[in-house]
């Protein structure tokens, strides 16, 4: 990446990134894993490995991204699933053995696993 050398260039880059983000939101399955120290201590590493494994088994592609602590440490590991053009839905205390069901019912079937859902991340956050 070349240096950004003016405010105009920064603003243009920001817009470009916002558009890229919006496009990804509309086109991709994005899985967010809370991987701050609180998340990792609760087992986010194992959960993430399981997500990659289960996606691979089903030949699914999704963007897996790590995020920091959103505050609900007691519910870690937190995993958000965002289907194309759908809200970002958070699951709490996601252990590896819960991953397959979330993928089958939510990502493939389109129906969130309500009993494990914490809430929806507001789009304007």
């Amino acid at each position: 990446m070349a240096k950004i050398e003016s405010v105009e260039a920064l603003k243009a880059f920001q817009q470009q990134q916002q558009q890229a983000h919006e496009q990804a939101r509309q086109e991709k399955v994005v899985i967010y894993v809370g991987a701050g120290t609180c998340g990792l201590a609760a087992g986010a590493g194992e959960t993430m490995e399981q997500i990659e494994l289960e996606l691979g088994k089903r030949n699914l592609t999704a963007e897996i991204t790590t995020v920091g602590c959103i505050g609900m440490c007691v519910r870690e590991p937190l995993v958000d699933v965002q289907l194309p053009n759908q809200p970002r839905i958070t699951y709490g205390n996601v252990k590896p053995d819960m991953v397959a069901r979330i993928i089958d019912e939510h990502i493939i079937g389109g129906k969130p696993v309500l009993e494990w859902v914490v809430g929806v991340v507001p789009q304007d956050w």
Binding site: M1, K3, I4, E5, S6, V7, L10, K11, F13, Q14, Q17, Q18, A20, H21, G34, G36, T37, C38, L40, T65, T66, V67, G68, C69, I70, G71, M72, C73, V74, L78, Q86, P87, I89, T90, G110, K111, P112, L114, V117, V118, G119, V120, V121, P122, Q123, D124, W125
Partner: protein, 508 residues
């Protein structure tokens, strides 16, 4: 997004975060990106308006205008002392010596506190941007982040973020094509609590032993390598970009008149929803503990809440309606501190609780000044004596005498505030201290020297489970016969209570 979101054609509704009790009363300024963006990607930070505040400051504003906005916002330092950040920046700006340094105090060491760590891990660029703005305001070209090595993930994310900021040209020479240059380095601390004190912190960066020195001179006049330096906490820097972008009036409109903005707490202990929260100043302890925290774990009774970490104080149930801000908490008998908030329930002995913090603070005394080094130790001896049941009636006066002297004569805040938890618990829970001393009883049934485990004869079936599990071999009794616990052998570990299926063991 106030209303629940329709997620699927089958009309199932899932609540938005803003409708969850945990988030309903929160306002996220310093935490706005935490948990939302990938902290290892500067692109995501920029997409959410990152570095626009720095751009605004260095291209549209003079350093004095930046300082004036910070002063008008009345942001008070989030490290604990609550000094107005803008005034601090102004002092550093007025110092003529060069070079000047911008320093971020990320030596968060309070037990149970993780506010700064979470920001550094979850949104490191906000801290870098805030420091760059401060550097522009005071006229500095070099900064240090002092972060303890115990925070490996925070340091890893910071390193990535600094590298990316350099690549993008937000750090380095001629930032965004202007004359302003600034670069940033990480200093990993070895985890000494006293290095959170700013003069000790700077000594540690210089490679010397982390010991405080008297102030004045303040860092703004003579700080790192005897040059003018500005030291702020992680949270203060993380808030600065938002103040520059949204204006002083916006920030001052949140929170209370004398403590504007938000307070960030690591809510821990015996609450249902432990976590990291950001609320407007002036939110009451009750709202934090019951609405956000979801009340006390296991339906137990609230007993006290410790704010300000091991140098703060505890507040009792009567103080639950205290608004959380710098002045109200001090008035109530605790301190704001950096943002630790530990809730304890009826099962906690306040003598033991105070002793825990005192053990920590006295172990972390650097030893340079006598009141802190000796005072902390003597205080701990008195408390240990009381918790063992060997307390004397004059001990309470002794506590007050030592505490007063530590407060008045110690060199830095560590020594001055070490007696804080003891004094607060003595003030609000004096009867508990008296019960330990006069009645030789621990009302919360915690202090091992003052409790006895007994078999409730009517309930005991003689199943021998407790006898088999007792690691001390203190329990005797034959099968189907009532058992007996020998108080002289019993270690008061409580294992027998846990294993007994018939509620046949009690603590007196």
């Amino acid at each position: 997004m106030e209303s629940p979101v329709e997620t699927q054609p089958n009309q199932v509704t899932i609540p938005s975060y803003t409708d969850l009790p945990f988030y309903r009363k929160q306002v996220r300024i310093a935490l706005r990106n935490c948990g939302i963006i990938n902290p290892e990607r500067i692109e995501e930070y920029i997409a959410r308006g990152g570095y626009l505040a720095l751009a605004k400051a260095i291209t549209e504003m003079t350093p004095d205008e930046v300082i004036s906005i910070m002063k008008d916002s009345k942001l008070r330092g989030r490290g604990g002392a609550g000094f107005v950040t803008g005034i601090k920046w102004e002092f550093a700006r007025r110092s003529m010596a060069k070079p000047k340094y911008v320093i971020c105090n990320a030596d968060e060491g309070d037990p149970g506190a993780f506010m700064d760590r979470s920001i550094l891990e979850g949104d490191p660029h906000s801290v870098i941007e805030g420091m760059a703005i401060a550097a522009y305001a005071i006229g500095s070209e070099e900064g240090y982040i002092y972060c303890r090595a115990e925070y490996p993930l925070a340091i890893a994310h910071l390193k990535i973020a600094i590298q990316q900021a350099r690549e993008f040209g937000f750090l380095g020479k001629n930032i965004l094509g202007t004359d302003f240059s600034f670069d940033l380095y990480i200093k990993e601390g070895a985890g000494a609590f006293v290095c959170g004190e700013e003069t000790a912190l700077m000594a540690s960066i210089e490679g010397r032993r982390g010991e405080p020195r008297p102030r004045p001179p303040f860092p703004a006049v003579s700080g790192l390598w005897n040059k003018p330096s500005n030291v702020n906490n992680v949270k203060s820097y993380a808030m600065a970009p938002q103040i520059i972008l949204n204006g002083a009036e916006w920030f001052a409109s949140i929170g209370t008149e004398n403590s504007p903005g938000t307070a960030i707490f690591a809510l821990t202990g015996k609450v249902n929803n432990t976590g990291l929260i950001e609320v407007p100043m002036g939110t009451t302890l009750r709202e934090i503990i019951y609405d956000i925290g979801g009340g006390i774990l296991g339906g137990k009774q609230f007993k006290a809440v410790q704010t300000g970490g091991p140098l703060g104080g505890c507040l009792p149930v009567e103080a639950l309606d205290t608004p959380v801000d710098f002045d109200s908490l001090v008035q109530a008998g605790a301190t704001m501190g950096s943002g630790g908030m530990i809730v304890v329930d009826e099962d906690t002995c306040m003598v033991e609780f105070a002793k825990y913090f005192l053990t920590f603070a006295s172990a972390e005394s650097c030893g340079k000044c006598v009141p802190c080094r000796i005072g902390g130790r003597r205080l701990l001896e008195v408390l240990t004596r009381i918790s063992k049941g060997e307390g004397k009636p004059e001990d309470l006066d002794e506590i007050e005498y030592i505490s007063r002297n530590m407060k008045e004569a110690s060199l830095c805040a560590l020594g001055q505030l070490t007696p804080g938890p003891v004094m607060a618990s003595l003030r609000f829970f004096r009867s508990e201290y008296e019960a330990h001393i006069y009645d030789k009883k621990c009302p919360a049934k915690v202090c091992r020297g003052l409790i006895t485990y007994k078999v409730i004869e009517e309930n005991c079936t003689g199943c021998m489970v407790c006898k088999r599990n007792c690691p001390a071999g203190a329990i005797s009794g034959e099968k189907r016969q009532v058992h007996y616990i020998d108080p002289n052998i019993c270690e008061r570990c409580g294992i027998c209570i846990e294993v007994c299926k018939f509620d046949a063991i009690m603590v007196e």
